[in-house]
C-alpha cells in the first residue's frame, strides 16, 4: 500500500494513467472533487478551498508574475454572523501563498490517508523524501503529444501544439516558483515512462509492478 504521485507533460496521457492506476489498485484518485472533499474533512470550509494547481496557474497574468506580486487567486464570498447577531456579507481575498499552503495541507492529509494517486500539484516536491511514495513522470515527444491531443479533442494540430507548449510552460513555472525545482529533472522521479514509445496499457502495468516494491507503512492505531 502506498502513495503514487504522477507528474505529466501535457498530452502525454498522464491523466488517464492516474485514473487507470487508481482503479487497478483500488486507490483513491486525488482529482479536483477529492481535493475539495479532503479540504472539507480538514474543516476548511468548502467554499474557502481553491484547488490552485499548475492547470489553473496558466490563467494568471504574466505581469504579476514578473513583478513577483502575490496574485489574488480567488475571492471568497461568505456570510458571517457578526457580534450583535446581524448578518454581514464579507469578501475575503485569497492570495497565491495562502492557496499553495492549502494545497500542500490537502496533499499531506491525502498522504496520511494512504492508498492514493496524486496527479500534479507539486506532489513530487511536497512528498519528495517520503519512503513509501512512488514518484512517476510521464512524458513523450511533443509530436506524439500533439497527435494524441488533437485526436482526443478533435482540434487542429496547431491549436493542440500551442496548448501543449503553454501548458508545459505554466507547469514548469508553477513548480519552479513554489518549490524551486526543475520539473524536467529526471532525478526527481523513481520511474519515468515515455508514452511516445510505450502504450498506456504497458505504463499501467509498469506502475502497478513498481509500487509493489515500496515499504509497507506501519499502521498507527
Amino acid at each position: 500500500m502506498a502513495v503514487i504521485t504522477i507528474s505529466r507533460q501535457y498530452g502525454s496521457g498522464g491523466d488517464e494513467l492516474a485514473a487507470r492506476v487508481s482503479e487497478r489498485l483500488g486507490y483513491r484518485y486525488l482529482n479536483k472533487a477529492l481535493m475539495a472533499e479532503v479540504a472539507a474533512e480538514m474543516n476548511l470550509s468548502r467554499g474557502k478551498f481553491v484547488d490552485f494547481s499548475e492547470d489553473t496557474y496558466q490563467m494568471h497574468g504574466f505581469l504579476e508574475r514578473l513583478f513577483g506580486a502575490s496574485q489574488t487567486i480567488s475571492h471568497i464570498e461568505a456570510i458571517n454572523l457578526d457580534q450583535p447577531g446581524a448578518l454581514m456579507e464579507v469578501v475575503e481575498r485569497l492570495d497565491e501563498t495562502e492557496c499553495i499552503t492549502l494545497v500542500q495541507r490537502v496533499i499531506q492529509t491525502a498522504y496520511e490517508w494512504d492508498n492514493v494517486v496524486i496527479l500534479g500539484r507539486g506532489g513530487q516536491a511536497i512528498l519528495q523524501d517520503k519512503p513509501d511514495v512512488l514518484h512517476v513522470r510521464v512524458q513523450a515527444p511533443l509530436d506524439a503529444r500533439v497527435q494524441r491531443l488533437s485526436q482526443r479533442t478533435h482540434s487542429n494540430l496547431g491549436g493542440a501544439q500551442d496548448k501543449a507548449i503553454k501548458s508545459d510552460r505554466a507547469s514548469a513555472a508553477y513548480l519552479k516558483r513554489f518549490y524551486g525545482i526543475d520539473w524536467d529533472d529526471p532525478m526527481l522521479y523513481d520511474l519515468i515512462i515515455n508514452t511516445g514509445k510505450l502504450s498506456l496499457d504497458t505504463a499501467v502495468d509498469m506502475v502497478t509492478r513498481a509500487v509493489q516494491s515500496l515499504p509497507v507503512r506501519e499502521k498507527v492505531r
Binding site: L134, Q139, D190, I192, I193, G196, D205, M206
Partner: protein
C-alpha cells in the same frame, strides 16, 4: 526475440538489473567475449583488442581524442560501408582507435542481433539501435550518495575515492556519447523508461523492464 539496451549511471545497479533479467529470461549479455569473437572473425588478434568501452574512455589522452577524425557510425543497412571497413582491417592493424572500436561494437551488435535475445549494457546501444523495432531502451539512475555507497560496498574504496570514481566514470560516459553519437545520455527522451534504484530494488526494476518488454513488436530480421 528481444533486445534491451541499458544505459546506467555508474553505481546505479544497472549491471545487476541486466544480469537478473538474463537469468530470468535466458537472455545473453552482450559483453567482451562477443567482441572478441567478432574481432577474431575479422582477423584481428585479441591482443590488439582493447575494450575501449564507455567506461575506459577516460584513459585516452586528450590530444589523441582530438586528432581522431569524425566519421558517422554506419547505418544498420549500410552493407557496403561495412564491407569496406572489414577490408580495411588487416591482421597487422595496430591498436584499434576509438572510432574503429565503435565500429567493431556495432558489427558485433549486428551479429548478435541475428540470433540472440540479449542485453547490452552501455557502449552506446541506445544511440546505435535507436528506433529499431523490438529494441527496448532503458536508463538506470540513482541518487549520488546511494551510488557512492554501492561502489564502496563493491570495491572497499574510501568514500572520497568512490565519489571520485563515480564522477569520473559518468563524465567519461557522457563524453563518449556526446562525441560519437552527439546525444545527451541523461535525456529521458532517448529511453522507453528510466528507473531510479534509490527507491526501487534491483528485483523490482528488473520486473518493470520485463513488463515493458512484453509490448514490443518482434524486430525485423537483420540486413
Amino acid at each position: 526475440m528481444g533486445i534491451i539496451t541499458i544505459s546506467r549511471q555508474f553505481g546505479s545497479g544497472g549491471d545487476e538489473i541486466a544480469r537478473q533479467i538474463c537469468r530470468q529470461l535466458g537472455y545473453g549479455l552482450f559483453d567482451k567475449r562477443l567482441l572478441v569473437r567478432t574481432a577474431k572473425e575479422l582477423g584481428i588478434s585479441t591482443g590488439e583488442l582493447i575494450d575501449y568501452s564507455v567506461d575506459d574512455y577516460r584513459t585516452r589522452h586528450l590530444l589523441e581524442r582530438l586528432i581522431v577524425g569524425w566519421r558517422s557510425p554506419f547505418a544498420l543497412s549500410d552493407a557496403d560501408a561495412l564491407a569496406d571497413f572489414v577490408n580495411d582491417l588487416r591482421p597487422d592493424t595496430a591498436r584499434l582507435d576509438q572510432e574503429q572500436y565503435t565500429t567493431l561494437i556495432q558489427l558485433a551488435i549486428q551479429t548478435a542481433m541475428e540470433q540472440d535475445n540479449f542485453i547490452i549494457v552501455g557502449r552506446g546501444g541506445q544511440a546505435f539501435l535507436k528506433d529499431i523495432p523490438g529494441v527496448l531502451h532503458v536508463r538506470v539512475v540513482a541518487q549520488f550518495p546511494d551510488r557512492v555507497r554501492r561502489v564502496q560496498q563493491r570495491t572497499r574504496l574510501e568514500e572520497a575515492a568512490a565519489q571520485d570514481m563515480v564522477t569520473t566514470r559518468d563524465k567519461a560516459s557522457a563524453e563518449y556519447l556526446r562525441r560519437i553519437y552527439n546525444i545527451d545520455w541523461a535525456d529521458p527522451h532517448h529511453y522507453h523508461l528510466v528507473l531510479n534504484t534509490s527507491l526501487l530494488s534491483i528485483n523490482t526494476a528488473a520486473q518493470v523492464v520485463i513488463t515493458a518488454l512484453h509490448q514490443l513488436p518482434t524486430p525485423n530480421p537483420g540486413p
